[in-house]
Structures are given as structure tokens and as C-alpha cells.
């Protein structure tokens, strides 16, 4: 910006300078002349002073030598008569002033001279000349010079008035007019004609310049119009800020952008500043300051400004310093405003959306990640970070190829897969083991899908990694369990069936069931137990269903079933209702307990026998003592009634008794028979007791390896020679068959006991067959000796009347007998039973079908098997 002080005439100045220069020139010439003249005067005066001093020194030689101070004074006064001499001073040898003469005129120069006499300095003189002479000669010169200079100046001025005006003033005036016109924007004025070459070219140049400026101004106008149009079209506001003054121009759009009428407030820095959001102001002003200081060239910022109604508008402002002061400080700043409120709101909404998206991802308990089209990680959730022990900032922007903790081969494969999924916008879902940060390889369901951007191009991929280790384990466990249960079902030794609750149709049966009933699967599935005739009593199935009602299960429901081989068995059935696939099914497990029941009966029997045996032994023991008293007392009775015993004779004699008479009396009154009866009864009782005691007798010490066939034969011999058997039971008539296997193992036994057992069995068989009604046509007893694993089996079978089941159960009990009193003690079989079971560690049982005969079986173990 140029300031315009009051204008002075160049021409008058020019003429003034010319006059002055002429004056200076003439003054210089005059000065030179004066200088030369003064120089010469000085030289002349110096010479004069020298001469005067020398003359004085010479004149004073003798007066001073003679110390004639009057003479000295006289000489000094004489010299002082000269009006040029301004100072005369005479000094003694000690420098003391002997004479002084001084005038008030300024001393121009002075000279000193030594006073000598005979080569010895005896004083000194000082002579000073004043300027009176010089002044008297100089003044005319100066006045002449001044007059001359004034004359020259006057002449100069007159010459200027005469010649400069037409030569300079007029062309300059026309030049001035031209420039004034140009500066006013009028480029139409034509340069005036001039006869002088200098001005002609100047005018020519000026005219060219004018035309250039005119064109440029036109261009500028056009471009400004274009800019304005562009700004308007872009809806941009314009600001033009004069930094120093703080004033600024705001374009109309600037105002309307904020909801104001154009020019509604005065443009300026404060007007802008007051409208900027406080949160943005510090930041934006910092940038602005950097631009102003020259650190930044371009200013760009996003900020909020309050509109007229107080609402905030987002503004993008961009500016550039267009003028800087010499120090670099910005002077003028021009820029634009763009309303980016909509974009900004969109951005904020997008940011909200992104935050929501991240929160959504973080909520998912599985590792979620997504990558851009360049296969680089864009983000993932916290589950991903936790599972893989990575941090977002470390992984973002990386490709799977860059993950150094993966084996190189895997990285390449994963990278290729990523690229493929992204390029094809495809989808990969697979189960794969992945090592997690916990150091373990987890079974995972790895799933990635490519996605498209809005324009349809591949945008990247999204992946989810679900840890399915637990599920896999559970699946495997379930599979194993299913397999296990399936096997359990199929190969269970019990019969297992699944049937429909309502119809009773079989849905599934196991191998044991089919084998047990002798059925094929095809003929079983879809049919009922009734149709197949599995139950002996068909009503039992209905009873079972009724029992199940209101209960979840029924256990140990006994039912008689038909086996595949046509025999009947007793089954224990446990049933429950199970819901499978929405159907109500009855699952039943049937176990054949025929054998178990038999075993149970045997066990009960055994237990009973043992307890009865124990009781019997206890009773027998207690009875033995009184029985002993009875027996011994009768023995004493017999002994003390004997007639031949000396003690009896002595005692009888003493009281006068005839022993012979006593004997006859006893016989007459059958006292001796009574005594014998008592004795035999006691003996019999003792024998019974002895048998009873045999139950608990151990006879191991008497056992040795025995010849079982020999024992059997001996027993048969004994039976055949038994008087009682021969007479009462016609034993001879009975056919005895004996079979002995070749490979009988050796068995330890007490021969007499086993012999007794077999004899007992033979006796029982003979008695049974003899008393049978109807009689047995061909009575026969079969004895078989066969080998068992770890023992020998002895079977004694008859074809007698058999034994009813009720009696079979009690047959081994002591004192249980079906024989008439006195015929049997009821101890035979129980003693046999204890001999075999307790004495020999074997087993004994009876099987009998009434009307067909009876089979006694005893198994005797070998020594090895016993231990």
C-alpha cells in the first residue's frame, strides 16, 4: 500500500537543484582560490615569524648574557611595535618569563627560538603573529566570491524559467495524465506526440504497458468471475482477512451458510472467532497461528460454527496466505468455507455405527475378525485377542502371511485361502485344530466369508472361530457311550426288548432275546409277545402293563416264559417306560432265573441243614451226660446183682441175703429184663446221638485216596448180604447196573463213610421200590461213576415211585422220615448229606419225577479242587 504525500513540482525542484549546484560550483572555485591565497599567506607569515624570532634571539644575546633586563624589555617593546606581532615572550635559562607582550587578537601562529651565547643556551623566545593581516586581505576575496555565486544562481533560475518549462514540464504533465488515466482504469487515453526521443520511447513503453495491464485486468476480471461462479456453484463461502487490521470480507454465501443475510454482521476476525465452537477454537487458532507465522502455508481445519439460530454447523475452512510482510508474517489471508455438516453428521453416525459394530463383535464370545480387500486385518473382537493372546494394535494392518508365530507353510496356505475367499467373495467353513494362547491345540469351527463393497467389488472377509473342543469331546463321548450302550443292549446276556406301550409290538430286541426264544429278528419286530407265544400265561403281559401304570418302573416281575427249545423257564422281568422319539415305549429286561431259583432252593436247604445240624449236635451233646448216667447206672445195677462178684457176696453175706434167691426173684419178676430194656434203650439212644454228633464230626484225618468203584461194589455186597434188606425188601430181585468211566480222577475220602452213604442210598431205593404202590415192575438201581472237571460224580438212580416235590425239599433234614416209626431214624440221608458236603467238601442233591424214579447225585471234588 503506498501513501501519497502532497505533490511538489518536479520542474521547480529541478531548477532549484540546478541553481544550487551552480552556486556550489562557484563557491568551490572561490573556496579554492581563497584556500590557495590563505596557503600562501600562511607560508609568508611563517617565514616572517621565523625571521622575527631569529632576529629577536640574536638581538637578545648580549642583553641576556649580561642579564640586562631593561635591554631585554626595550628590545621586546620595540618588536611589539609591529601591529602584526601579537605575542612576544622571553624566557630565562630556568624557563622563567623575563618579558611578555600580548594583544587580544587571536594568535594565528607562533615560533620559538633559542638564545645562545658562545654555544651555550641562555634563554628562549616565543613570537606569535596575529591574523590581522590575513583578515584584511581575505575579506575582499570572500565578498567577491559571494557576489559571483549569487549572480550565477540568478542566471540559472532565469535560464530554467526560460528553457525547462517547454522541455520538461509539458511532456511530464502529459505523462502524468496518461498514468493517471491508466491508474483510474482508463486505458483508452493515447500518448501525446513529442519531439523528443527519450519521451517518445517512454510513451511507447507506457502505452504497451497500459495495453498489457488492460488485458490482464480483463483476464483477472474474467477469472474472478469464474472463481465467484465456481465458489457459488460449490456453495463455498469466501473470506478475505486483513491480518493486521483484523478486518475481513465475507462473501454472501459465507453469511447464508450460517443462516444470516449477506452482510448481516460486519466481517472480521472477532466476528468469526465468536462463532467458533469453544471446543474447536483452541485447536483451530493454533493452526491459524502457524500459518500466520509462516510455519504452514496452507490452512485447513474442520470446526463448528454457530448459525443464526444458535445451531452448530460443521464448516471445512481452507485458506492461504496471499501476502506476507518482509518478516514473513502474514498480512492477508484468503480462504473458503464449505458446509460439511451433513458429511460430518454422516461421519459421526458412521463412528457410532463402528462403535456399535465393535461392541457387537466384542459381545460375541467367539473370536471374530475381518480383513480388507488387501487381506490385511481391519479389526477383531476381544474374544479374538484373549484366545490368541494378541493386541489389536499389534495385528491391525498385518496379513496372515506376516504372522511369524505360524509355520511358514501354513501362512502361505492361509494367505492363499484368504485371497481366494476375498477374490471370489466366497465362503470357507471347516473344522480345524488351532493352537490357542493357552498353549493347547483346540478343535475349532473356522468359518470365513468374503463380502462385497457397495460398488460390488470384493471388500474383504469376515471370519469367526468357534472353539468346539468341548462339543467334539462331548460328541466323541456320546458316540462312545452310544456304542457302549448299543453293545450293552445287543450283547447283554439278559433279554432286552423295546415294545410299543399300547400295541405291545416289538420295536427292537437284542441277540439274547432272539437266541433265548429261538426267533429270527424279521419274524419278531412288529409282532407282539402274545402273537409269538412267549408267555406261558398271556395275561401276565397285561398285568405287567397295569403294574406299570402310575409308576415309572416295575422290577422283578416274575413270569413263566416259553424257551426256544420248547421248555419253560421262569423269568424275572424289569420294565420301564421310556420316551424315544416322541413314542412311549416299554423297555423290558428279562433274566431267566430258573437256575437261580433252583440254586436258591438248594441254598436255603443247605442253610437249613447246617442250622439243623448245629442244633442237633448241641442237643446230642447235652443229652449225652444224662444218657451216660442211665447207662452206667444200669451197668452198675447189673454188676452189683451178679452172684459171682466177691464184693456182692460179701455184702449179701453181711446182711444174710441169698444172692441166688435174689437172682431167681429178679428173673421171676423180670427185673433183669427191665434192666436189659433200660440198657438197650440207652444204647439205642446213645447210637442215635452218636449219629447226630456225626453231623459235625470232622474226619479229615481219616481220608485217603480211595477206590470209589471198589467202595461202591462193597456197598452193593453189604446191601445184598443185609438180612433186613434181604428179608423185608427182596433186594435180590433188584437189578443193579453199574457204569464206571475210565478216566476217573483220584479222590480222597473216608472209605467207611462213603460206603455208608452208598449203602444208605441203596437201602432207601430198595425200601421205596418195595413199598411202591403200584409195585415197580422191574425194579432197577443204576449206579454211575463219571469224571467231572476237578472231581467225580456218583449217581444212584432208581425207577421207583419217585419223591413228591414237597418231600424232596425236606429229604435231607435230620429226623425227617416217611417211614414207619422204628423203621428209620430220619437220619440216614441227613448223615449222608453231611458226610458228602461237610466231610468231603462235595455236594449232594436229589432230582425226582413222581412215577418215574429218583436220582441222587453226589459230586466229590479232588484234593486240588477242594483247596
Amino acid at each position: 500500500m503506498t501513501t501519497a504525500p502532497s505533490h511538489r513540482s518536479l520542474a521547480s525542484r529541478l531548477s532549484l537543484f540546478l541553481g544550487l549546484s551552480s552556486a556550489v560550483l562557484s563557491m568551490a572555485v572561490l573556496g579554492l582560490i581563497a584556500g590557495v591565497y590563505i596557503q600562501r599567506s600562511h607560508a609568508h607569515m611563517g617565514e616572517h615569524a621565523q625571521r622575527t624570532a631569529a632576529f629577536l634571539a640574536e638581538s637578545l644575546e648580549y642583553p641576556l648574557w649580561n642579564l640586562d633586563l631593561d635591554a631585554v624589555q626595550a628590545i621586546g617593546q620595540a618588536l611589539a611595535q609591529d601591529h602584526v606581532v601579537g605575542l612576544v615572550e622571553v624566557f630565562g635559562t630556568q624557563g622563567e618569563t623575563l618579558y611578555i607582550h600580548q594583544t587580544p587578537h587571536a594568535i594565528l601562529m607562533e615560533r620559538r627560538a633559542k638564545v645562545a651565547h658562545g654555544g651555550q643556551v641562555i634563554g628562549e623566545v616565543r613570537v606569535g603573529l596575529n591574523d590581522l593581516e590575513l583578515r584584511s586581505t581575505l575579506w575582499p576575496v570572500v565578498l567577491t566570491g559571494a557576489g559571483l555565486a549569487g549572480l550565477i544562481i540568478l542566471l540559472q533560475y532565469l535560464l530554467h524559467r526560460l528553457f525547462f518549462r517547454p522541455l520538461l514540464d509539458k511532456p511530464f504533465a502529459s505523462l502524468d495524465r496518461l498514468i493517471t488515466a491508466y491508474s483510474a482504469g482508463d486505458f483508452s487515453a493515447t500518448p501525446p506526440q513529442t519531439p523528443y526521443a527519450e519521451f517518445a520511447s517512454l510513451f511507447g513503453l507506457l502505452a504497451d504497458m497500459g495495453r498489457t495491464i488492460e488485458r490482464q485486468v480483463d483476464d483477472l476480471k474474467a477469472s474472478r468471475e469464474q472463481l465467484s461462479l465456481a465458489l457459488d456453484a460449490a456453495n463455498d463461502g469466501l473470506w478475505d482477512w486483513d491480518v493486521a487490521s483484523g478486518k475481513a470480507f465475507f462473501s454472501p454465501r459465507y453469511y447464508t451458510m450460517l443462516g444470516y443475510e449477506p452482510g448481516e454482521f460486519e466481517g472480521g476476525y472477532e466476528a468469526w472467532r465468536s462463532r467458533v465452537h469453544p471446543d474447536d477454537l483452541v485447536r483451530v487458532e493454533r493452526v491459524l497461528a502457524s500459518c500466520i507465522d509462516g510455519e504452514l502455508d496452507v490452512f485447513k481445519a474442520e470446526l463448528r460454527m454457530s448459525g443464526k439460530g444458535g445451531q452448530w454447523r460443521w464448516i471445512l475452512t481452507r485458506g492461504k496466505v496471499v501476502e506476507r510482510a518482509a518478516a514473513g508474517r502474514a498480512q492477508r489471508f484468503v480462504g473458503t468455507h464449505v458446509d460439511i455438516t451433513a458429511r460430518k453428521e454422516l461421519e459421526l453416525r458412521l463412528a457410532d455405527q463402528l462403535a456399535f459394530q465393535q461392541a457387537l463383535m466384542d459381545t460375541i464370545p467367539y473370536a471374530v475378525f475381518y480383513k480388507g480387500a488387501d487381506t490385511r486385518f481391519l479389526g477383531f473382537n476381544t474374544a479374538y485377542e484373549e484366545i490368541f493372546g494378541v493386541r489389536r494394535e499389534d495385528l491391525l494392518g498385518k496379513r496372515v502371511l506376516d504372522l511369524e508365530y505360524l509355520p511358514p507353510a501354513d501362512r502361505a496356505a492361509y494367505q492363499a485361502e484368504d485371497e481366494m475367499v476375498i477374490a471370489n467373495v466366497g465362503r470357507v467353513q471347516k473344522e480345524m485344530p488351532i493352537p490357542f494362547a493357552d498353549g493347547q491345540v483346540h478343535e475349532t469351527l473356522y468359518s470365513v466369508s468374503g463380502f462385497r463393497q457397495a460398488d460390488g467389488s470384493p471388500g474383504g472377509l469376515i471370519g469367526v472361530i468357534v472353539d468346539i473342543s468341548e462339543r467334539k469331546r462331548a460328541e466323541a463321548a456320546l458316540r462312545q457311550s452310544e456304542e457302549k450302550f448299543s453293545r450293552l443292549f445287543m450283547f447283554s446276556p439278559d433279554n432286552i426288548t423295546l415294545s410299543e406301550m399300547e400295541t405291545g409290538r416289538f420295536v427292537e430286541v437284542n441277540e439274547s432275546f432272539l437266541r433265548y426264544h429261538g426267533l429270527a429278528r424279521e419274524e419278531t419286530i412288529g409282532r407282539t409277545a402274545g402273537e409269538l407265544g412267549l408267555f406261558v400265561d398271556k395275561r401276565r403281559r397285561r398285568e405287567l402293563v397295569e403294574a406299570l401304570e402310575g409308576r415309572s418302573r416295575v422290577e422283578n416281575f416274575e413270569v413263566e416264559v416259553r424257551r426256544g427249545d420248547g421248555t419253560f423257564g421262569v423269568g424275572s422281568m424289569s420294565s420301564q417306560i421310556v420316551e424315544i422319539g416322541g413314542r412311549s415305549l416299554m423297555m423290558s429286561i428279562l433274566r431267566d432265573i430258573t437256575e437261580t431259583k433252583k440254586m436258591q432252593e438248594v441254598m436255603v436247604q443247605t442253610e437249613k441243614m447246617i442250622s439243623v445240624g448245629g442244633i442237633a449236635a448241641g442237643v446230642a451233646h447235652e443229652i449225652n451226660n444224662p444218657l451216660g448216667i442211665v447207662l452206667q447206672a444200669t451197668q452198675n445195677l447189673v454188676q452189683r446183682t451178679r452172684a459171682d462178684l466177691p464184693k456182692n457176696i460179701a455184702a449179701a453175706r453181711e446182711i444174710g441175703l441169698d444172692l441166688d434167691l435174689l437172682r431167681r426173684y429178679m428173673q421171676a419178676r423180670k427185673l433183669d429184663v427191665f434192666i436189659t430194656d433200660i440198657q438197650s434203650a440207652a444204647v439205642r439212644a446213645a447210637a442215635i446221638i452218636r449219629h447226630m454228633l456225626d453231623f459235625s464230626r470232622r474226619s479229615e484225618s481219616k481220608r485217603m485216596v480211595c477206590d470209589l468203584p471198589g467202595i461202591v461194589r462193597k456197598a452193593i455186597d453189604l446191601a445184598q448180604s443185609d438180612y433186613d434188606l434181604k428179608k423185608s425188601y427182596d433186594f435180590k430181585r433188584i437189578r443193579i447196573d453199574m457204569e464206571v468211566a475210565d478216566d476217573l480222577p483220584e479222590v480222597n475220602c473216608t472209605e467207611t463213610e462213603i460206603e455208608q452213604v452208598i449203602l444208605n442210598l441203596l437201602r432207601n431205593a430198595a425200601q421205596a421200590m418195595a413199598t411202591s404202590d403200584p409195585p415197580v415192575a422191574e425194579p432197577c438201581i443204576g449206579i454211575r461213576l463219571s469224571a467231572l472237571p476237578g472231581g467225580v460224580r456218583v449217581e444212584v438212580q432208581d425207577n421207583g415211585p419217585g419223591i413228591p416235590p414237597a418231600i424232596q425239599r425236606r429229604i435231607f433234614e435230620p429226623f425227617f422220615t416217611t417211614k414207619a416209626p422204628g423203621v428209620g431214624t430220619g437220619l440216614g440221608l441227613s448223615v449222608s448229606y453231611f458226610i458228602v458236603t461237610k466231610g468231603h467238601g462235595g455236594s449232594m442233591r436229589v432230582e425226582s419225577t413222581p412215577g418215574y424214579g429218583t436220582l441222587f447225585t453226589m459230586d466229590l471234588p479232588t484234593e486240588d479242587a477242594r483247596t
Partner: protein, 129 residues
């Protein structure tokens, strides 16, 4: 007190049985017979005068028959013993076998006393009386 007959001691807690045996044996007029109701009493009797043979019931109150036999034999009060017991379940222990008791010396009640006398005489004879 000196006697020409072998000395017997009957140890049985059942007084009737003890008495009947003693009565039965006395009729032989061949034995010097004493009785005791328990092992302790038996030892006391023997300590006064030892015996040549003892008939001992195994089941006795206090000290049992076996302990009595071992004690009497150990103190040199009696060299031979017969067992007279109501129990059939008895097997001779190694200690009893060691003092010379055999299966033949075991008599189970009720018992024929003549067999008992036979065995007593047999044992006394074998010793060369």
C-alpha cells in the same frame, strides 16, 4: 498211706457220673480210686499222693481237662491219662499226643464202662505194674 493197688483218679465235674464210675471200678477190688470235681482239685489230690492213671473229662469248670493233664504230667504226678468226654468233635492236640494219649484212650460218653476198665487194665499192664 500205702496201697498194693494201682492208684486211679477220676476227674469229672458231673458228680453222678464220677460216682458211678468210681463205684463200678471199686467192685473190681483192684484199684485205689479217688475222685475230683475239677482240674484244680485233681492237682491238689495228686500233690498229696500221685496216681498211676487219670480218667479225665475234657470239659471242666475252670481249668479244662487238657490243661489238667499237661500240668499233672509236667509235675510228674501221673504218667497215663484216659479221656472221657461228651464231645465228638474233639481231635487230639499235639500236646496230648506228646504225653502219650492216643485215639484209643478217648472214650465218648455215653460209654460202656467195661471197655473203659479193659483199657485201664491194658495200660497198667503194659507199664508192667
Amino acid at each position: 498211706m500205702t496201697s498194693p493197688f494201682p492208684r486211679l483218679l477220676i476227674v469229672d465235674d458231673e458228680e453222678q457220673i464220677r460216682r458211678l464210675i468210681m463205684e463200678f471200678l471199686e467192685d473190681y477190688e483192684a484199684f485205689d480210686i479217688r475222685g475230683a470235681g475239677s482240674g484244680e482239685e485233681g492237682l491238689q489230690v495228686l500233690s498229696q499222693v500221685p496216681a498211676d492213671l487219670c480218667v479225665v473229662d475234657l470239659r471242666l469248670p475252670g481249668m479244662d481237662g487238657e490243661a489238667f493233664i499237661l500240668a499233672a504230667h509236667g509235675q510228674g504226678l501221673c504218667p497215663r491219662f484216659l479221656l472221657h468226654t461228651g464231645s465228638v468233635d474233639h481231635t487230639l492236640s499235639d500236646e496230648l499226643l506228646a504225653v502219650g494219649v492216643t485215639d484209643q484212650d478217648v472214650f465218648i460218653k455215653p460209654n460202656d464202662l467195661e471197655r473203659l476198665v479193659d483199657r485201664i487194665q491194658e495200660l497198667l499192664k503194659s507199664r508192667g505194674g
